[in-house]
């Protein structure tokens, strides 16, 4: 793990998603689950996007995921990411079935494959206000 890595841009956090970001700051991953239909929900919402129930509970999860897609970008995708080039952006599917956007770490020498197992990595932002959920080959 690259101890010094800092993410250049902080998320614009909302009251609804506060528990998600707070958990990442402690090195844990939590997701919302619908009390009504048991669907896992990401990104955080005030109601379940499957049944519109407002009864959602935050649950701790492993943070383990599989790789759904990725792109290696030799050029920065935007000026704030110049220092991070080359970036490897990815979409991952958590064990609970939800998707999220992320970037991959520790990929040197690894062949990336659809469905490969990934483990969570916790990456603070440069301004110290948040911790991002990144992933690395398991």
């Amino acid at each position: 793990m690259t101890e010094t890595l800092l993410a250049p841009l902080a998320p614009k956090m909302t009251p609804t998603s506060t528990p998600f970001w707070a958990a990442l700051g402690e090195g844990r991953v939590v997701l919302q689950q619908c009390d009504g239909c048991e669907a896992w929900v990401f990104y955080p919402r005030p109601r379940c996007p499957h049944c519109l129930s407002p009864a959602l509970s935050w649950k701790p999860v492993s943070g383990r995921a599989t790789l759904t897609t990725w792109t290696h970008c030799p050029r920065p995708t935007a000026p704030p990411f110049t220092g991070l080039a080359p970036q490897t952006l990815a979409v991952v599917t958590l064990e609970e079935g939800v998707r999220m956007s992320t970037f991959l770490l520790e990929t040197a020498g690894r062949t990336l494959e659809l469905g490969m197992a990934l483990s969570p990595r916790f990456v603070p932002t440069e301004d110290g206000t948040a911790t991002l959920l990144a992933f690395a080959p398991a």
Binding site: P74, T77, V91
Partner: protein, 401 residues
């Protein structure tokens, strides 16, 4: 299905698409007026004939866009729409106009999308924030899921999203690198014959596409549209009013629209695009099939968009796009004409107006006005529009009356 009172394209205006525009700068409202005048003249209609209007975003107004345009043009209307579908705005405008005519709400509808640079305001408070340059279709407004869960990871604008769609597709169905390069090279060959195209007389070979710099794996520079200046407008009319046009009316006999996501992170299946549902609706409404199409004018922000559109619109099975393309020639005189104007990969992308260039080329061909690139024996065309990162798509069936 549908009615006999089909709305038809009866005229259009298309400005040359240029990479570096050095002509006079005009506000979008001023461009709207110029485009309206040109398109109405082409249609053989007058301003007083217009009783419907469809707009896209306007730099001079954040809201009340149609009323602003109506007042500026000086022409009251009975039907007004504001369409916000990114690259699918143009095609989305056309079916709404055609549907309004079918319903008998109005007789002549004007659709325009200006795309020339506007005057630079000396007041810095009135300029877009610097991040607007790299955000593209991504919203970084507080409360936007993208601002919270995409932007911090660098998944901004369109390149990375389309690249991840292409990468997922290739991981499941194998490389489509050569097929994508073929799309780019064959469309650039068509653009080389189109004097309105930014790449007029500038073809590229398949090998040049494959040798162009990697932007976001697997997509290379020559697989990505080039932002340009331009503008386009279309006039649609009822069958009665269409008689005043000097051109063969081009009826919109089928249309379909599908919106699924804003960010492909959340697509049910990254290899299946909304055009599957949009095209199925359009073909059913028109009572026709992919095999009956004489011409395709497909939205092509990226090469992968064309390949996935061909599969999802039903021209070949999922995963078979590369093999399908390998046996076909997309040129105007080829066995499978696609984007005979060069597509946006060849013409350039004049902002939202880029989404009107496909339907205008199909109309131009169906009217028999395509000059040296005219496709022969042409009666039916499929036209598509794609907005965002495969997040919203429109399909139109155009038929010569």
């Amino acid at each position: 299905m549908g009615t006999q009172r089909k709305g038809a394209i009866v005229g259009y205006a298309e400005w040359p698409t240029v990479r570096r525009y050095d002509g006079p700068r005009r506000f979008m409202l001023e461009q709207w007026m110029d485009l309206a005048a040109e398109a109405l003249a082409d249609a053989g209609l007058a301003l007083e004939d217009v009783d419907g209007l469809v707009c896209g975003t306007l730099r001079e107004a954040n809201m009340f866009v149609p009323a602003t345009v109506v007042e500026y043009l000086g022409q009251p209307v009975k039907f007004a729409e504001f369409v916000d579908l990114g690259g699918a705005t143009g095609t989305g405008m056309l079916w709404r106009a055609a549907a309004a005519i079918e319903l008998g709400l109005c007789d002549v509808v004007l659709c325009a999308l200006p795309g020339l640079p506007i005057p630079s305001n000396p007041d810095p408070r009135d300029r877009p924030p610097p991040e607007a340059r790299w955000l593209g279709s991504t919203s970084n407004a507080w409360g936007s899921p993208q601002a919270e869960f995409e932007v911090p990871f660098g998944n901004v604008a369109q390149n990375a999203g389309y690249a991840m769609i292409a990468a997922h597709y290739e991981a499941r169905f194998g490389s489509c690198e050569r097929a994508r390069a073929q799309i780019s090279a064959q469309q650039r060959a068509s653009a080389a014959l189109n004097p309105l195209a930014a790449f007029y007389e500038k073809p590229v070979s398949l090998d040049e596409v494959l040798a162009s710099p990697m932007i976001a794996e697997p997509l290379r520079l020559l697989e990505i549209v080039m932002p340009c200046a331009g503008g386009a407008a279309v006039v649609l009319a009822s069958p009665e009013k269409a008689k005043q046009s000097p051109h063969r009316p081009v009826q919109i006999t089928g249309y379909g629209e599908s919106l699924t996501i804003k960010t492909p992170t959340f697509a049910d299946d990254l290899a299946v695009t909304p055009v599957a549902a949009a095209a199925a609706t359009a073909f059913a409404r028109a009572g026709t099939t992919p095999a009956a199409m004489d011409l395709l004018a497909l939205y092509d922000c990226y090469t992968i968009t064309v390949l996935l559109t061909l599969e999802d619109a039903g021209f070949c099975p999922k995963g078979a796009g590369a093999a399908f393309l390998a046996e076909r020639n997309l040129a105007f005189d080829g066995d499978f004409p696609v984007n005979t104007h060069g597509g946006q990969l060849g013409v350039g992308q004049p902002g939202l107006a880029g989404g009107l260039l496909q339907p205008i080329e199909a109309a131009r061909q169906l009217m028999g006005r395509a000059g040296p690139r005219q496709v022969r024996d042409l009666n039916r065309a499929l036209v598509t529009g794609t907005g965002g990162v495969m997040s919203e798509q429109v399909a139109l069936i155009l038929e010569g009356a």
